[in-house]
């Protein structure tokens, strides 16, 4: 891990130093990941709602107009569990200086190949949040925005993970979290429905026991200076085949948290 992290630090400045053979090898996989009707269709469908929430809350936090060009201009942003870059790329287009990390090395290769295609400069690293915190905090402080989208329900130890990702937020910065609530309804919809009935996600994608209640998320962030300003539910409308914000937190929900200035 340490070796991978240091090699990728050398590649920080963007895709120009990326190995072209590596790009070629992962281009086909990137196309599959990015196929809006392919394996990751649910994530593509969900994306506009997630992006709009992040954009609107972060812009408001910095007193900017979210509908103006490049509303995240100049902000540093870390996408934890970036996968193929489905969130990292839009964030880069909205003006953020994006770092994407993922524990799966293959995802990082895919993300790099696709960013190269899109002509976007994104610093993708094969690293965990914990390793990145050790690597980056002593020198640079942290990020204006840390995205924890659909990752906290997959980590082995929630408290350790929230501590590491909180440490990566700059004082006065923000964290956005998206996850699944540990309710019977979430079990029925997100596990049984999405994985077994609809086949949207591969079986075994989610372990219901790891789902996180909003109160647990708030309690996990508080010791590290993170204060949740807003919770919102995310609901799917099967008739319009669209996701949207909802007051119902019982299945998918998102949280916007701000870190105190005097952290």
């Amino acid at each position: 891990m340490a070796r991978a992290a240091s090699r990728n630090t050398a590649a920080r400045s963007g895709h120009s130093t990326v190995d072209p053979e590596e790009i070629a090898r992962f281009t086909a996989l990137a196309e599959a990941w990015w196929d809006p009707d392919g394996e990751f269709r649910p994530l593509h469908r969900l994306n506009p709602t997630r992006i709009a929430f992040i954009r609107d809350r972060v812009a408001a936090h910095h007193r900017r107009d979210p509908l103006k060009a490049r509303p995240l201009r100049g902000l540093t942003l870390l996408d934890v569990g970036c996968g193929g870059g489905l969130l990292s790329e839009p964030m880069a287009r909205l003006g953020a200086r994006v770092t994407g990390i993922d524990a799966a090395e293959k995802s990082i290769h895919i993300a790099r190949a696709h960013a190269e295609q899109s002509g976007l400069s994104i610093d993708y690293r094969h690293a965990t949040a914990e390793a990145l915190a050790q690597d980056i905090i002593p020198g640079g402080g942290g990020f204006d925005v840390v995205l924890n989208m659909e990752v906290v329900e997959h980590v082995a130890n929630l408290d350790t993970f929230l501590a590491a990702t909180s440490a990566l937020v700059k004082p006065g910065g923000a964290m956005v979290v998206a996850t699944l609530n540990r309710t019977a309804k979430a079990f029925a919809l997100a596990v049984v429905g999405a994985e077994y009935v609809l086949g949207w996600l591969p079986r075994g994608t989610h372990d219901w026991r790891k789902f996180v209640r909003p109160s647990e998320l708030a309690a996990g962030l508080r010791p590290h200076g993170g204060e949740i300003r807003e919770f919102t539910g995310v609901a799917y409308n099967p008739i319009t085949d669209k996701w949207g914000l909802s007051p119902d937190l019982s299945v998918n929900y998102m949280a916007f948290a701000v870190t105190g200035k005097g952290k």
């Binding site: 009707d37 954009r55 880069a92 295609q117 002509g119 400069s121």
Partner: protein, 415 residues
Amino acid sequence: MAAGSSRRPRAASRLRGEVLVIGGGMVGLTLASALAGAGLEVILVDRVRPESMTDAAFDGRTSAIAYGSQRMLAGLGLWPRLADAAQAILEIRVSDHGSWLFLHYDHRDMGSRPLGYIVENRDIRRALLAHLATLPAARVIAPARVVAVDRDERGVEARLEDGRVITAALAVAADGRGSLTRRAAGIRVTEWSYPQTGIVCMIAHERPHNGIAHEHFLPAGPFAVLPMTGDRSSLVWTERTALAPAMLALDDDDFTAEIARRFGDSLGRLEVVSRRWSYPLSLMHAERYVARRLAIIGDAAHVIHPIAGQGLNLGLRDVAALAEVVVDAHRLGLDIAQAPVLERYERWRRFDNLVVIAATDGLNRLFSNSLPPVRLARDLGLAAVNRLAPLKRFFMRYAMGLVGDLPRLLRGEPL
């Protein structure tokens, strides 16, 4: 934007934008205005020098601008440049040759707003070009000819005849009914021609038109007199293609006499004050409106019979829908040309366009006919529509562009 940055732009020979609009007609110019106004970098290429596009000789035609389209042009900040050149339509009188029955649309049935406006195409172009010049995100390249458009997952690369290369995320074909861009993309069309020719000219008349548009159904096809600013009207005369050359060859006095013979003397003495244009009438509908990183709009996607004056309005509705889906995606940092974005445009517009295509084709077939049973049926139909207020209001609202799932621009809202 960063899109395409990996292609190492070289000096002046490479131009980079987010959207490339091919074709600078009214629809292409409006799309460029809408997108550039929302902050997208737009490059518009046209084969014709912009100044000559506003000559009277370039295009003497007029367009009907439905109320919904007017609201959109106002929302884009264009209407102040057009208002003086626009004649409000306050009433429409539809009549059938040799029959006492007619259909009467009055704007007062719909509240105080006009049913629409008649504007000369060159005035619309002039206003759009002047507006585009004020938008820093818009760039017009003309005269220039696009000779190749390469589209792949990375983006669009278009080559101009002079060797310049334009890169963008999305290409839009607004290059008219014979769209080379559409053909090169392999998008097929359904089309047929009518045995009719449209003769167009401008007349001045002795008496004021009072904002009344006339549509008079003659056996050869509809004969429309559309009110223009001043004591002028625009004539759209549908004639059998076999007879049209003879009409066009008449001297001024005889040509005017033919018009008066068809229209009558309700506006007093008539005088033809422009040259005469003619064009064969046809119907065309593209099988797809989108392909990889390409959308086609306006006449490049559909050409309809001018019977209901809906041609430009359909094109402007395409603009409103495409601009909305592209701007929404752009504001989310998504790839503006990804398939779901373009497919949303296609789904949104295809059905509406088909309805209007079918309706205008049906109307033309119904009215360009002098068989007695057909005439009786249509006269009864006209009379029935005239008496059924809700049905009539629905037709009026449809023609005014106020029906359906409207894009924000057509609702008069900002993008």
